[in-house]
Amino acid sequence: METSGWLSALGFAVPLFAGVASPDGVHAAPAPSYWIAELDLGWGVGSAFPESPDGLKAGIALGVGGAPGGSSLRFHLMLHLDLQALSADGLSRLEPTSIGRSLMQTTVGLRIGTMFSSRARGFFELGLGHLFVETEAQVGGGSERFEQSDDSFVLQLAVGAQYRLHQHFSVGFRMDLSLPTGLQSFDPLAEMAGADGSDGGAGNVDWVLTTVFHF
């Protein structure tokens, strides 16, 4: 079955982004686009970890969906893959320490969007996934080095907005809140690095700029 066929079967009959201006300025109804692909780049704070490290976040996402039955809302099933490199240092007043965390998170979620105008829209997203964390800590002025792995089920909430520059291209931003539920309740590496190892927060917060391709 063709893509358009099974989308129609699911009720996504109305072309997505109908009425968006074409590049040449002619307001012709664009061909329906069911798929979106996103590239994200931004900054995150790992508040779920005791030392609250921060660092870059990059991600890709693939989504499929549309506006079912003439609804003003857009629904997309989203698949995310996010990578983050977080770090913190200078936590201990006793000794030079540093701690770095590499995060990989995969989530599947539902994005619900609404059009603010013909070009702008906002969305909310709820996703479930898994978070993998590789941690490396250096203590004792670098004379001791530790590595540890952890992973957790994760609930992800996101809000964002996008502006369509072209029929096939949008830019926007998104704020993610990731809530890992199963990380270690006491983190000895963070403790050795000078943080309170049992002081991890509920979730990580990220802000990313997004580029979206519609097809």
């Binding site: 201990s92 007043r93 006793l94 000794e95 030079p96 479930l128 898994h130 203590v139 004792g140 002025g141 670098g142 004379s143 001791e144 530790f146 540890q148 957790s152 089920f153 609930l155 539920t181 199963g182 990380l183 270690q184 309740s185 006491f186 983190d187 000895p188 590496l189 403790e191 050795m192 000078g194 190892g197 049992s198």
Partner: protein, 404 residues
């Protein structure tokens, strides 16, 4: 089977699945019944050390330094397959009042085969973690100094004896007490042992989880003794930031180390208090922990007070404690001390008012017992796993189906 009966059974299935899901979520990460060696856990603790620096570079009579410091431990940090890694970093009191540099003590013991005692060999103690317990190495240890990010002395053990004096694993926590002594040696610039530039240390150590194994086992017991007035035999005592005491909680923050003092009254620089020169105070540093304790403002019953006290004076509660110490729980006995008396029951929680911090322990009177301290935990947070979500979804779907 009647339709009604079938419908009733169907309606029960979601409940069963939901119960299973909740059981999964809350219980899947809990440790199974296991031995101390098998369990995976990590946590905070406290190290009580008596360090004697000996060697050619140390003039005259070696003077032991008593250090009470925080520590961190974890089984997954161990270089052994089944091991326990313990690390304590503290500001070592310097000589003649000089600010001490950060010193780190690391002990890593092999817990496989139910081992509870370790006698370090001269060779191999500090071999790489990858060596595991090959060649009979069952314990590694290291005492080193951090000087501006560089390693100062770096002493490796040459002899010693460590015993796992107590260990407890419960469903939600694990605790232990490791006690013994180590002789460590830094070969000095020439890299050769037994030469004039060697730097040697003898350490009596007690490494204990918080909560203590005794507390986890439900036995009221006295914690380790603290350096209080007149009972600190070594010439120098030092309670480092982060040392956890069941009675007073944490004394000072890490911030004490740099600038010598902080607003909370914690002395930063190790207060080198020569016992011989100050016989009447005798108590020692009273710097960090005692000042911190005073500023924290707890009375003898562990109740918060607004009196910040003249902290730098005689070891805070030292007077009381010293007086009470006549009850047989003073730190002078601390080689065995309260810890020892705890074993024979003379200084347990029931001995309230004796002056031991044990009074505040379970079974004692008032104060924050060890349960109020940071948890030693092999647990993860309750994990809503994929399996849990799917089971809940299945339960909800079946619920709807059953209603039809």
């Amino acid at each position: 089977m009647t339709i009604a009966r079938r419908s009733m059974m169907l309606s029960r299935i979601p409940v069963v699945i939901l119960a299973a899901a909740i059981g999964w979520i809350t219980g899947v990460r809990a440790p199974r019944a296991q031995t101390f060696g098998d369990a995976a856990f990590a946590g905070k603790g406290r190290a009580t050390l008596t360090i004697t620096r000996v060697g050619a570079e140390v003039e005259a009579e070696p003077e032991p330094v008593e250090v009470y410091a925080r520590m961190t431990f974890g089984t997954e940090l161990s270089g052994f397959q089944e091991g326990l890694y313990v690390r304590s970093s503290f500001a070592m009191p310097g000589v003649d009042g000089a600010k001490g540099l950060t010193t780190v003590l690391v002990v890593d013991v092999d817990l496989s085969n139910g081992r509870r005692s370790w006698q370090p060999e001269v060779v191999g103690l500090s071999e790489s973690a990858a060596s595991g317990s090959r060649d009979g190495v069952s314990v590694r240890a290291r005492l080193y100094e951090v000087d501006d990010g560089e390693t100062g002395f770096d002493a490796r053990p040459r002899a010693g004896l460590l015993d796992l004096e107590a260990s407890v694993v419960t469903r939600s926590a694990a605790g232990f007490r490791l006690r013994g002594w180590l002789a460590l040696l830094d070969a000095g610039p020439d890299g050769l042992d037994d030469t004039s530039d060697d730097l040697a240390f003898d350490i009596e150590l007690t490494l204990e989880s918080v909560p203590t194994p005794d507390a986890l086992a439900g036995q009221g017991s006295a914690p380790l003794p603290r350096p209080v007035g007149g009972v600190c035999d070594p010439s120098v005592c030092w309670v480092d930031a982060g040392y956890y005491d069941a009675f007073y909680g944490y004394g000072c923050s890490d911030a004490v180390v740099d600038d010598g003092s902080t607003s909370d009254g914690c002395g930063g620089e190790p207060d080198y208090d020569d016992y011989d020169d100050d016989a009447d105070s005798g108590n020692t540093d009273s710097g960090a922990a005692c000042e911190g304790d005073s500023s924290t403002g707890y009375d003898d019953n562990g109740n918060p007070t607004s009196d910040s006290g003249d902290s730098g004076d005689v070891a805070c509660e030292g007077d009381d404690v010293e007086a009470d110490s006549s009850g047989g729980c003073d730190s002078a006995d601390s080689g065995s001390g309260c810890e020892g008396t705890e074993a024979d029951g003379a200084c347990g929680g029931s001995d309230a008012g004796s002056g031991c911090e044990g009074d505040a322990m379970p079974g004692g009177s008032g104060g924050a017992g060890p349960e109020a301290g940071p948890p030693t935990t092999p647990l993860r947070r309750a994990d809503v796993s994929w399996v849990g979500v799917l089971m809940i979804g299945l339960a909800m779907a079946l619920q709807r189906l059953a209603k039809r």
